[in-house]
Amino acid sequence: MIYLAAGMIIFWLATFLFVWSISRRQHKLEEELSVLREVVAEGTTTQA
């Protein structure tokens, strides 16, 4: 029973961690995109 339980816990934990990792990286990239868009917009305004 312990092998089945341990195998399943580790398996689904790894899957969940991968999903969480994608979500965290997406959030970071969204923040970076937001900052870059502001920088580019300011740069465009300054040039104008």
């Binding site: 029973m1 195998g7 580790i10 991968f18 994608i22 979500s23 870059l36 580019v40 740069g43």
Partner: protein
């Protein structure tokens, strides 16, 4: 319908698919632990219980093979068309493949311990080749991280991904051509194979359900992982734009 409405509609669909996949996973866990019949050919209760790992062990292995196949195909398409989206597809699929192949190996070890009396055997061709497949694609991801230029990175990793895929069918057929303790789930094994595997009808049902669910999980994860690559591309483009304006 405006582009933004279409986009949010698609996002909703993928969220529904993600929720559905989660539900199917819960059903799959129930089926594999409580509904699937006991493997009565296993001599001890510990082995009979550990055998239930089989349903997600095989499904994870299938997703790994599928993911690396997609990586190889995307690599071919990139070399032919030189479009960035194929490279994005290749790396997204490879990352998912690494995760599920690692899960396949770890779950297999937890099944192997009570069944074979060992966590791992480097003498076994199937196990060794499966480990090689995992290392090949970990190296693929490391190679990509080492190259800054996007075009060069895409070109080299496409070639690597195509060549690396040769290890996948070799791993699959290893139980059929070499002496191994690992059972062949589909088809016949080598005459000198020590492992054997017979499935009842209900076992096949649970296995197919697991493979279907994991395939859906792969598709959903690929969608969200691809979005990451698209966002990375946008970040790179905006950085170039910001630098040009300085």
């Amino acid at each position: 319908m405006t582009a933004s409405k279409k986009s949010s509609g698609k996002d909703t669909l993928w969220l529904i698919l993600l929720a559905l996949t989660g539900l199917l996973i819960v059903v799959g866990v129930y089926l594999s632990i409580l509904w699937a019949p006991t493997a009565v050919n296993m001599p001890t209760e510990a082995e009979q219980l550990a055998q239930r790992i089989f349903y997600f062990h095989v499904a994870a292995g299938w997703v790994g093979y599928l993911a690396f196949g997609v990586t190889a195909l995307a690599g071919i398409l990139y070399l032919l068309k030189r479009q960035r989206r194929f490279d994005n597809l290749a790396v997204s699929s490879a990352e998912i493949g690494v995760v599920f192949t690692a899960a396949n190996l770890v779950s297999g070890s937890f099944w192997a311990r009570p069944t074979w009396g060992t966590w791992w055997s480097w003498d076994d061709p199937r196990l060794t080749l499966a480990a090689i497949v995992l290392l090949v694609y970990i190296a693929y991801l490391m190679l990509r991280n080492a190259i800054d230029d996007p075009e060069r990175r895409a070109r080299l990793s496409s070639i690597y991904g195509i060549v690396g895929f040769l290890s996948v069918p070799l791993s699959f057929i290893s139980v059929r051509i070499w002496r191994t303790i690992h059972p062949a789930v589909i088809g016949t094994t080598s005459e000198t194979a020590q492992g054997g595997f017979d499935m009842s009808g209900n076992m096949v049902v649970v296995l197919l359900f697991s493979i279907f669910t994991f395939s859906l999980l792969y598709a959903v994860l690929l969608h969200y992982r691809l979005k990451l690559e698209d966002m990375r591309e946008q970040v790179e483009d905006l950085k170039m734009q910001a630098l040009a304006e300085l």
